[in-house]
Symmetry: C2
Subunit: 436 residues, 2 copies
Amino acid sequence: MDASEKPRTLPHIVVVGAGFGGLTFCRKFPEDAARITVIDRQNHHLFQPLLYQVATAGLSAVDIAQPIRAILRRKKNLEVMMAEVTGFDLAARKVIHDRGETSYDYLVLAMGGRTSYFGHDDWERFAPGLKSLDDALEIRRRVLMSFECAETESDPQKRRELMTLIVVGGGPTGVELAGTFAELARTVLVRDFDRIDPSKARVLLIEGAPRVLAHFPPDLSASAQRQLERLGVEVRVGKHVKAIRHHEVEMPDGEIIRGIVIWAAGVSASPLTQQLGVETDRAGRIKVLPDLSLPGHPEVFVLGDLVTLTDPKGQVVPGVSPAAMQMGEHAVKLLAEEIRGRTSTTNAAAGRAPFVYWDKGSMATIGRSKAVAEIGRLHFSGYPAWMAWLFVHLIFLVGFRSKFSVFVQWVYSYLTYKRGARIITGATGTPPAGSA
Amino acid sequence: MDASEKPRTLPHIVVVGAGFGGLTFCRKFPEDAARITVIDRQNHHLFQPLLYQVATAGLSAVDIAQPIRAILRRKKNLEVMMAEVTGFDLAARKVIHDRGETSYDYLVLAMGGRTSYFGHDDWERFAPGLKSLDDALEIRRRVLMSFECAETESDPQKRRELMTLIVVGGGPTGVELAGTFAELARTVLVRDFDRIDPSKARVLLIEGAPRVLAHFPPDLSASAQRQLERLGVEVRVGKHVKAIRHHEVEMPDGEIIRGIVIWAAGVSASPLTQQLGVETDRAGRIKVLPDLSLPGHPEVFVLGDLVTLTDPKGQVVPGVSPAAMQMGEHAVKLLAEEIRGRTSTTNAAAGRAPFVYWDKGSMATIGRSKAVAEIGRLHFSGYPAWMAWLFVHLIFLVGFRSKFSVFVQWVYSYLTYKRGARIITGATGTPPAGSA
């Protein structure tokens, strides 16, 4: 048989990570141009922007998670593998994982970020972060258990501590958590308990920068702080916590605040970026070339929270899901063209189009009817911003099975102030303080 | 001040356990007749009859659980306490728990059952039972993870073992699990995977008695077995497993079957029954007096799965939720009458009305459109039985917040054969065999 008659084998693309970047790549890549294997250590894609709602018992885990296999079921030439990637052999073009290794022609790295404690890894067990479903369920468990313990605690000082929640970090996640917890205590839990008064729960938000939501314009930061304070949240800005211990935080002036501690102060790129032999920033993010490729490896693309990049327009690309999705689309466009046009990739990186971020605006929600939003030059606060936030997130959930369920839960929650997801599961983890 | 002028303090009833028995008691007891404290170690009531649907990824945890505080929010003179009861002081009328102790005038015991391994407690870690939400999530995790591992397993023998599910125990729970797993593999998972063929998954149901559903009439047992076999389940009756080890079961003839093992063979009463100094049966259930009171303690009532009793009609009261609920109502009636009529409880037990069980029928579901039902002298199988089962469970869910959500999930699942709850959470527990 003549070798030239053999059907041309499709190149093999390995995508590591099925977050917004990786998943967008998989969904948009033309099915007939390559075989794709997507590897993730979880079996589900997570709708990260609503993770705080699982932590605050507003939504249940399945509302914001969807099996990767189900999302990509209809894609031809695509395989899903649940495995933990442990390393790369860039020279031999192989991904190494706990189920073996997988060879590639092209590699797309989209492992995303993880909670970072800025070198204080010992703080992790005292102050969980919020990156996975398990994190969210753990935070929910700690908060609800702590209120349960307060209900039977006779010492007023201890009871007060069990009803104190300290959120470290005033970025969007910290603001969302603090606002929603304050609201949960004052409107929902307040009707659940007999002896304690959850409306007296103390919620603190501690931020090292001079203002919350430091990446937003100053007027919106100020508005966010006012809206938080109206919910009863104590906002302390310009304070870096000095230490975190079991059930307590030490402030720079030595003040000790006791309560449940949640960490929302730092995110860094997956530690796998350290194995690639390229330059990274302090948060482990890769300094990619303008086309999103790995320096020296035009066959490797890097997406989303793994990337630090200033685009040709001078915009610093933020670590948000729209940016990750746009990067996924950019990589699809470049790679599909090259594979079809048989462009040599050996020195292709130089001639490729650079990635340009399209900033659709930013928003952060603070509670029911409370939010801030920046869309172009327009700044919104309060109810209009919240409506915009609600609208954008419902649109984003398109294609996501749980859209209807999320909508039902929200409407239900909005109308009744009940929280359907207030269930404690899992007996593992640190017991609430004061229970000893 | 004259003592006779003091407002009469209400007697204090402590209810231990917020399952069907305890919760019915709390809901039905007249608010003005006593103060009630209900103690449970979980913060939620569980709709046990649908727990197998959480294990088989058909429903999510919140669909079948509801916070106890939310259910009983509107009851006056009632407090909910989340605590683990560790013992009783019947002479001093005190309940001892991990948050302290609570005195009572009347005590209602409704702690329910737990998985029993018939003295083989070492089997527990190899073969989880199905009594709590955490159990259900653990079983789901094991099964889904095992299929994920099969997908990347190259050894055909190991792959086959990773796709083998062994359910030990052919009562209603075992039949429901085996039938639903077979259906899940053949209709849902079959479309998720690329390399393995989940329709070739092997599901075994092993029962020690000569037939499955031994408490049902023989014709329905035979029908259930036929319906299971039609789904591809291998049913082995009259076989007591000899041993259970990591990822394998040893049959009486020495045959070794390797696969994921799930235990549905035994339930016993809460071990707290052993502390009461009264006679119990082999499964730890209390031989109560005909009025449901504890022998020698007319101020203590025992409900639900804690009880072994033959009623005046000669019916052995079964360990099912309708029986527990009827017992709760019976205790309400007797206690409310006594408290209002100031009947002395010292020797009241003798004069009290005995509990009579009203058998509304029994049903077990096997899969989509497959079930058996016995209502009086009528025996149903297949589709009519399944419709009856569906109808009864929807009616039962009345008052339960999740009714609408369960209904939506079911309809969705029925129409599309998708499973929205196919999410793996929690990294704890035994790793699936073959992954090492």
